[in-house]
């Protein structure tokens, strides 16, 4: 949706506050570079009449030209902040691409840290990686990017840390200007009929909002970094719920993909309508009303018990 300039323009027209571009994936850039190089080299220096098959031009380096171009053009086209999202694998990739994105004019960066802790590093002597190592790696990435750029940096946080609160605080300490809760990992699946792996791409549903809301409610007020909610925003009620939990920012992707860019306008007007109905004149009046910071364990347990009971009665809790 935001992958092309037209989409970005439509989103801006829908009066959204900011636009996060789809992630730039380092592996994709690298894979493409490798694929280019393989195609480039095939048949070279083999036959006297055709020592090469393409003009010897620059521009096939792993420099993510297309993405940077999108950033540049989006920034030039729309007047809302354009936030670039970055998903890298190598230390050099994170910092180099972050700098490029900053130069391209991105208003802020979202770090989409995704790795499978099952995968040991190539140099690891043991086929295991500890939780501490995973966390340290993520903190390092953030710190390195922060050192490389001057624009605000948000981390799209994984829901699978043992202690989310601790990680949120550590991210903040390492310089995060924002935390996005949560990263949704698109795990591939297995198709038993075709005996093949299938991609994990799927849109989120309102139920996916529960986990981030619970944690935003926990973190609101405990961290100074902005808290952005991600996942499960289908209608204005979901937006309101996130704000009640304490989110500074509410993000939506799946609903826009389902209903089109104009759905953003519907969300905004729905929120206004909800506020009118509940007598709220501004966001400040209700943001964080349900924040549970400081009562993490109790709050969560309480929610857990409530949910189980509700489930027994066949009710929906949110």
């Amino acid at each position: 949706m935001a992958g092309g300039l037209d989409g970005v323009r439509r989103l801006a027209n829908a009066r959204l506050a900011a636009i996060v571009l789809p992630s730039l994936f380092e592996e994709e850039v690298r894979r493409e570079a490798a694929r280019n190089e393989t195609a480039w080299e095939a048949g070279t220096d083999s036959f006297a009449e055709s020592l090469s098959y393409f003009p010897d031009i620059d521009g096939l380096d792993p420099n993510p030209r297309r993405y940077l171009d999108l950033v540049e053009r989006a920034v030039a086209t729309v007047d809302v902040p354009v936030i670039a999202s970055l998903n890298c694998v190598s230390a050099s990739g994170w910092t180099a691409y972050a700098s490029s994105l900053e130069q391209a004019g991105a208003a802020a960066l979202e770090l989409n840290i995704y790795d499978l802790p099952a995968d040991p590093s190539p140099t690891s002597p043991v086929p295991l990686i500890s939780g501490r190592e995973v966390e340290a790696r993520h903190i390092e990435v953030l710190a390195a990017v922060k050192a490389a750029v001057g624009i605000p940096v948000a981390v799209k946080v994984s829901p699978y840390y043992s202690s989310i609160t601790e990680m949120a605080l550590r991210f903040e300490e390492a310089g995060a200007n924002g935390l996005v809760l949560f990263n949704r990992f698109l795990h591939p699946d297995i198709d038993p009929e075709k005996l093949a792996m299938t991609s994990g791409i799927g849109l989120s549903s309102p139920a996916d909002g529960r986990l981030p809301r619970a944690w935003i409610a926990q973190l609101a007020g405990r961290v100074t970094a902005s808290l952005a909610a991600s996942g499960g925003v289908e209608d204005a009620g979901d937006v309101a719920a996130y704000l009640l939990a304490g989110a500074d920012v509410v993000m939506t992707t799946s609903a826009l993909l389902r209903h089109g860019s104009s759905h953003a306008t519907a969300l905004l007007s729905g929120l206004t309508e909800w506020m009118t109905r509940h007598g709220f004149g501004s966001l400040r009046e209700f943001r964080g009303l349900f924040a549970t910071s400081g009562q993490a364990a109790a709050g969560e347990r309480a929610g857990y018990v409530r949910a189980l009971r509700a489930a027994d009665r066949g009710e929906r809790t949110w």
Binding site: G43, S50, F54, I57, D61
Partner: protein, 1235 residues
């Protein structure tokens, strides 16, 4: 500034900076000059005066010369780059440009002309063919000279208004890397006064001060007008000298129009021009140093011939002169340079200015880049010392027919400080690229001089390369291959069995072998002749398993970095640490675009290389009796044994004149004797899964997958390895089916695997044909192939070759070509040979298909068991349609002659037989068989008639024409869309029965990917580096406009059945036919195994709509335009994003790519709409065939069949009992991307 570059770049660097317009057209070996100009222009690089030269690719060299002429007449500084036939196409305009006294320089990488054979290599045949045009001619002998004299030529041309050809030897100079001093812009400016440029502009055509130039003249004044230019030519030698002096003053590099090297009191002198002059001069210097009274005159300015400079250069002591020409003029008194020198000396002697008239002999050397070495120079000097030197001679060959050749030996004159190395590798292993890096490392930054020259074989797949490298403290003036190398790298273990890698090794040399064997096993693994040579030369042996090191470093197959490191480690040309740092710097530069990871892996390979390198102890004796394997089977024909095998072994240079055919005629089908084993992975058939659909065999570009059906009883004696299964056809019980893979010829391209519709249950990716390691299969499969070959060939009349399934039983008469692995062109040619091979005549335009189809030493067009097969020939690039039309004209005429003689002899022969022959239908295979039987009978009856009767002899000489010939004009898009477009158009308009097959790769594939008018919108190609801005020409619609041309656009990867229909309908149609065949290509930047998949996507996206236009349908009252494609069902980007040619622009300039691809998408839709509309029109909307109906050619209908059993069959028809190959209902074609 010092830099290492080749001659093409050296010349282009100056030409580009000194011109405003470059009119270009690709031709080897000059193409890189044009490519560089185009690249620089697309990068916005300015010329000397700040403007970016306009680079214009034309449709032919004739077009380039015309555009050049126009640009010059309009006041631009303009140039062109060309060679060989291209230069010949420029001749008419060269006369004009010179006749109008227009300053310009053409840069020529001099190359042989096509005579008894085409050759892309270097000699002076082309430039000698323009010496009469009025162009001045300046010859460069080295890479540095190609740089410097490009400037001198431009300066002298502007100064005198006489245009120049600046030439240097193709490949030897154009492709030799050498360290040169680069001319800075200031030097260029100093030699090119701006007032001369303004004077040139002031002479331009302009409506502001009109005049007329290019008039027609009459007997009264043409002659006198021709003589007006003499004073301008008289100034040229002086102007060239002045420019050379000015250059010397700025650079210290001094040249003369004619220069002398050697003993100042020499008695024997060689006169020579081009790169050979450098070899001769260095040899003369060496021999003079040994006390011989010899010298060499180097000619740089050849036209106007500077006789005075020649006389001044020759020492007065000269008594014998040998003039060496790098060309041949059959029937002349002598070659051009010889005649000029002889004339100049004779005239001077007669005039009294030359006291003693020396003996002058003329010799030929170096044709088609034949080596010219110091030993040969010494032989010429030795001959001059004889009492009676040979008046005409050759040197460098053994002429046992004319006795012209001089004997020569080896002479090593190179300075001891020069390191010489040779490397044997494969094109795919990166050896050449690594060596180019090595040269740049040593040549550019380290104060050393470096030279590199690379020899490639004639195959496009699995080709061998030999790199010749020299390094030294002094400039390297040795334009010949390395002899006496101190270092020999053999980068592929198997090469040591096939190539004499040690033949160029000096005593005490080091041999580095890449081998998987541990060091202790290496020695014993070497064949006896190799062991003997190592012992005889006292060589040191090193071994490394570079393949393993590369794999460990994460670079499978890329052994170049490892072996480059080993070279530095062993040779010691640089201190170890410095070498490693330099290699890593080069890696960082080369692989930057592949990302940090690839750089890191290459660096790891460097680090691991040295520790994996082992010196192999050489025992003092041979330890094996194992000889080298035979190159060709012992039962190969005599010519193959004596000649072909020698060429294959790299010993073609030693073949004497008598060994070779006098007129360029060679036996067909010699690839069958060359088992190249170029792929580690080969196709393997799985009969348990096979459904006998024939798809694998259909798409195989190398004809390595063959099928036969045969009686069960024929299986007796089959080797265990021979696989067989019951034939899947009704009505033929007890019949078996076998699919045989010719494993030694398989290139492992995997097109067959991708085409196989069978998917093994539970084993993803496994098909009924799969790739498997070759080595374990070879021995057993050799037996299987032998058994398969003795099975009787399938009777063509029993095969329904209206189906893909049926075609697999037809013997391909095009096999094992050297085309790229996975080539998209060759499957069409193979099919052509299967369908019509025994009566097929092919006129083949120059291009990929003429190279893999006709390049020595082995050629793929073959014959069947009856000895019949395609008659194939290549004329030129530009004239192929006309050439093929000539085939038709001759065939028609001789058929007419045969019919006339038959009528004349009707009673004597027997009226029944004659009438049957004359009336015989010839469309089905059974009918051809019957006609052949009648003709055999006719031959027997003619034996009984008086032999002396002219009509009988006449008839006998044209008897074969009574079998209808199938004439095909084959070529690529460069031919059909560009250079041959006019001729093709004319031939299509002729109404004659010729069939045109355009193998459309959408780019000049053979010369390395230059844009043609078939290149699609938005694709990047050479000469379209910013993306093609004009859509592809719709050749099909152009041809359809004539109304009587059968036209088809096909893509076998999308619908093989439609391809088959089109070929057969075209052949059956009694008129011109045009088939445009989508041919995926390595120049598209695709994974070749996905080639057929891309064909499918090209069709599915609507980019390549499959159509047929059949005039016979119109005649029958039906719509002749058939749209065979379904509606576009995938986005264009699904097709384009898989090809580098499109991705390049998307990555370099995304906005521009988006713009162009949006236009391309719209163009696809618009064209589709037009086609769809045409497909629904009535026949009356299309032009009618106005030709009178020919007797005997009444079409039988649209359906073309071959069946002898049923009159009509084909897809959907009832399957006749006892016939093989009818598809089971639907079309066997499948979209490879369907999965």
């Amino acid at each position: 500034m010092r830099a290492t570059m080749d001659g093409n770049e050296a010349a282009a660097s100056v030409a580009y900076r000194l011109n405003e317009v470059c009119c270009i057209y690709p031709i080897t070996p000059s193409s890189p000059m044009a490519e560089l100009a185009d690249e620089w222009s697309s990068q916005g690089r300015p010329n000397l005066w700040g403007s970016v030269p306009s680079v214009m690719e034309m449709q032919s060299e004739g077009g380039a010369a015309g555009a050049l002429h126009g640009a010059l007449q309009s006041g631009a500084l303009a140039t062109t780059f060309t060679a060989s036939q291209g230069l010949l196409l420029m001749i008419p305009n060269m006369y004009k440009i010179a006749g109008e006294l227009t300053p310009a320089v053409m840069h020529v990488a001099a190359r042989s002309l096509a005579t008894q054979g085409l050759s892309i290599f270097g000699d002076h045949a082309d430039v000698m063919a323009v010496r009469q045009t009025g162009f001045a001619m300046l010859a460069s002998a080295s890479v540095q000279e190609a740089h410097d004299l490009a400037l001198v030529a431009q300066a002298a041309s502007l100064g005198t208004r006489v245009p120049f050809v600046h030439f240097f030897d193709g490949f030897r100079t154009s492709h030799e890397l050498n360290t040169i001093e680069v001319l800075p812009d200031d030097d260029l400016r100093a030699l090119i006064p701006e007032e001369l440029i303004r004077a040139h502009r002031s002479r331009a055509l302009s409506p502001e001060h009109p005049f007329i130039r290019g008039t027609a003249q009459n007997p009264d004044t043409y002659f006198q007008a021709r003589e007006t230019v003499n004073p301008f030519y008289a100034q040229v030698p002086g102007a060239v000298t002045a420019a050379m002096d000015a250059l010397a003053a700025r650079t210290g590099r001094h040249y003369e129009t004619i220069s002398y090297t050697g003993d100042p009191a020499a008695e024997r002198v060689i006169v020579i021009m081009g790169s050979g002059a450098q070899t001769a001069a260095e040899t003369a210097r060496y021999l003079a140093g040994q006390g011989e009274r010899v010298g060499v005159v180097t000619v740089r300015l050849f036209r106007p011939f500077p006789a005075a400079d020649l006389l001044a250069a020759l020492p007065p002591t000269v008594r014998q002169v040998a003039v060496l020409d790098r060309t041949k003029e059959p029937g002349s008194l002598g070659e051009p340079l010889f005649l000029d020198v002889l004339g100049a000396l004779a005239e001077a002697h007669a005039a009294g200015t030359l006291a003693v008239m020396p003996v002058v002999t003329g010799g030929r050397y170096g044709l088609s880049s034949k080596e010219f070495t110091p030993g040969m120079v010494a032989a010429v000097f030795a001959d001059l010392a004889a009492a009676h030197p040979k008046p005409r001679f050759t040197v460098g060959i053994t002429d046992d027919v004319g006795g012209t050749s001089l004997d020569y030996g080896e002479l090593d004159i190179e300075p001891p400080g020069t390191v010489r190395a040779v490397f044997f590798g494969l094109g795919s292993d990166g050896t050449v690229g690594a060596n180019k890096n090595t040269i740049k490392i040593l040549g550019s930054d380290r104060g050393l001089h470096a030279q590199g020259y690379f020899v490639y074989d004639s195959k496009k797949s699995g080709s061998q390369t030999v790199s010749h490298l020299r390094f030294g403290p002094d400039p390297i003036r040795a334009p010949y291959l390395v002899q006496n190398a101190s270092f020999v790298g053999c980068h592929q273990a198997e090469l040591i069995e096939r190539v004499d890698v040690l033949s160029r090794a000096a005593p005490g040399a080091t041999l580095l072998l890449n081998t998987p064997r541990p060091p202790e096993e290496v020695w014993d693994s070497l064949p006896r002749p190799v062991q003997e040579q190592i012992l005889a030369k006292g060589a040191t042996l090193y071994a490394i398993d570079a393949t393993q090191v590369a794999r460990d470093a994460g670079l499978p197959g890329r052994i170049n970095t490892v072996l480059q490191t080993c070279f530095f480690a062993i040779s010691g040309v640089l201190p170890a640490g410095e070498a490693i740092a330099a290699i890593k710097a080069a890696i960082a530069k080369s692989y930057a675009r592949r990302g940090a990871e690839v750089v890191a892996r290459n660096n790891a390979a460097v680090d691991q290389a040295v520790s994996a390198l082992h010196q192999v102890p050489v025992p003092g004796r041979v330890t094996t009796n194992r000889g080298l394997p035979a190159l060709v089977p012992a039962d190969a024909p005599d010519f193959v044994q004596r000649v072909t095998a020698e060429m294959m072994a790299g010993r073609g240079d030693a073949l004497p004149v008598s060994a070779l055919p006098v007129d360029g005629t060679y036996p067909s089908g010699t690839t069958a004797f060359e088992k190249r084993n170029i792929s580690d992975l080969v196709a393997e058939w799985d009969p348990d899964l096979c459904i006998q659909c024939g798809n694998c065999s259909f798409v195989c570009p190398h004809s390595v997958i063959r099928a036969k059906f045969y009686d069960e009883s024929d299986l007796a004696g089959a080797p265990d390895s021979f696989a067989s299964m019951p034939l899947d056809a009704r009505g033929l019980p007890d019949t078996r089916y076998s699919l045989q893979v010719y494993v030694e010829d398989c290139t492992g391209c995997a097109l067959c695997v991708e085409a196989c519709p069978v998917q093994a249950p539970g084993e993803p990716g496994k098909h009924a044909i799969n790739l498997a390691p070759r080595e374990p299969l070879v021995a057993a499969q050799r037996e299987s192939i032998a058994f398969f070959e003795q099975l009787p060939p399938n009777n063509r009349a029993r095969v329904d070759f209206g189906t893909v399934r049926g075609t697999q039983y037809l013997q391909p008469l095009f096999e094992f070509s050297g085309a790229c692995a996975g080539c998209g062109e060759t499957p069409y040619l193979k099919l052509l040979s299967q369908l019509f091979g025994d009566r097929l005549m092919i006129a083949n335009a120059t291009g990929c298909s003429s190279i893999y189809g006709g390049n020595q030493p082995t050629t793929p067009w073959a014959a069947d068991a009856e000895g019949r097969g395609p008659a194939w020939s290549n004329s030129l690039f530009e004239d192929n349609a006309e050439f093929g039309l000539g085939f038709r004209l001759a065939a028609d005429l001789h058929l007419g002659l045969a019919l006339a003689r038959l009528a004349q002899l009707r009673e004597q022969i027997g009226p029944d037989l004659v009438d049957e022959i004359v009336a015989a239908p010839q469309r089905r295979e059974s009918e051809f068989a019957a006609q052949r039987a009648r003709i055999a009978e006719l031959g027997r009856r003619l034996d009984g008639l008086p032999a002396g009767e002219p009509a009988v002899a006449d008839l006998r000489s044209v008897l074969d024409q009574l079998v209808r010939r199938s004439v095909w004009l084959v070529g690529g898009d460069g031919w059909a869309y560009d250079i041959g477009s006019g001729g093709l158009d004319h031939v299509l308009a002729s109404g004659r029965n010729v069939n045109v097959l355009v193998l459309d790769t959408e780019v000049y594939s053979n010369t390395g990917g230059q844009s043609s008018k078939a290149t699609p919108l938005g694709a990047v190609a050479k000469f379209a580096a910013s993306g093609k801005h004009v859509p592809k020409k719709d050749l099909a619609l152009q041809a359809i406009a004539y109304g009587n041309v059968y036209v088809a656009r096909v893509a076998m990867g999308a619908d093989p059945q439609q391809t088959l229909h089109a070929l057969r309908e075209a052949e059956a149609y009694d008129g011109p036919s045009l088939i445009i065949a989508y041919s995926h290509c390595i120049a598209h930047g695709i994974e070749m195994r996905d080639g057929m998949g891309q064909q499918y996507r090209a069709v599915a996206s609507g980019y390549w709509p499959m159509i047929r236009y059949d005039p016979e349908l119109r005649a029958a009252g039906a719509n002749p335009f058939l749209l065979d494609s379904p509606r576009p069902r995938i986005p264009l980007s699904d097709y384009t994003s898989r090809e580098l040619r499109y991705r390049i622009l998307a990555q370099r300039d995304p906005a521009e790519s988006e713009r162009l691809m949006a236009l391309a998408e719209r163009e696809v839709q618009q064209r589709w709409a037009v086609y769809e509309e045409m497909a629904t029109r009535g026949p009356a909307w299309f032009p009618a065939d106005a030709r009178p109906a020919a007797a005997g050619s009444t079409p039988e209908g649209v359906e073309v069949t071959d069946g002898s059993v049923l009159p009509v069959s084909g897809p959907g028809a009832a399957e006749p009992a006892g016939r093989v190959g009818v598809a089971d209902g639907g079309r066997p074609g499948r979209g490879p991307a369907a999965g």
